[in-house]
Amino acid sequence: MNARTDADLTVRKSVTVHAPQAVAFEVFTARMASWWPMASDHVGLSECADVVVEPRVGGRWFERGVDGVESPWGEVLAWQPPGRVLLAWRLNAQWRFDPAFLNEIEIRFVAVDAATTRVELEHRGLEAFGAQAAQMRDVLGSANGWGGMLDQYAAVAAR
């Protein structure tokens, strides 16, 4: 596979936050429920009450519904607080858990100074969506599909 294609299938993001490195790491992992758009972005049938990343290699990454039911999302592949965490995302294009499916999400927390952290995120392996990638196209593009949901996220994020 050539470099261009690889690049196309990796999403890279960076955000600088006015928070110490340890706080940034903690909020991202231990307090994921405080910022993850749980209202719309979850897989369980009941409302999502919590998003949990167990703090260790092999730890589970899952959501817990208000009914207490846990729905797996993936697991922790690398755990190096406060600088780096590598998560396995195992939700396929149908938003269902699939142990054979893997996208890697690597997050690096770079201390710019004592009170500032640059968070670099890399979401890799979109090719794993395989056939589903093409099939998602319509969903993503339709007003009632993911595109519409993202508009909702944006509204919440901007408040």
Partner: protein, 136 residues
């Protein structure tokens, strides 16, 4: 469309790939994937770019038959073809991958924006002596 607690449930039709969101386009895509061999060809190409020979080597199908299947998939907007020397390399329609990438991109734009607000709120809270002992 049915929904469970506000979450829209997606139907099979929603997952159908196509260039245009019209019924005729959906019908073409359905028809294109409605053949077991063609569906296998599409799945192989979706995983990585392949030539006709690559595909024929992985399926019990002749090269001309593979070519014909690819032509149908291309007409339905599911795969694209690129000439590489003497070979034609097939890959999933780039629009489809671009959309997928755009989705993940937006997901993290929003997620990280929310994350930044939260992280900075926690940092402020801890920096303020008044509220320091209330943390956690």
């Amino acid at each position: 469309m049915q929904s469970v607690k506000g979450k829209r449930m997606l139907s099979v039709i929603d997952y159908l790939p196509m260039k245009t969101p019209d019924i005729a386009g959906r019908a073409r895509a359905f028809a294109a994937l409605g053949d077991a061999t063609r569906l296998q060809v599409f799945q192989l190409v979706s995983r990585r770019p392949l030539s006709v020979a690559d595909i024929a080597g992985q399926l019990p199908v002749s090269r001309p038959a593979v070519s014909q299947h690819l032509r149908v998939l291309a007409d339905a907007g599911l795969v694209t073809c690129e000439s590489l020397g003497t070979r034609n390399i097939y890959r999933p329609d780039s629009d489809a991958l671009a959309s997928l990438r755009g989705f993940v991109d937006s997901l993290w734009d929003v997620g990280l924006a929310r994350f930044r607000i939260e992280a900075e709120a926690v940092a402020r809270e801890r920096a303020a002596p008044r509220t320091r002992k209330e943390r956690r």
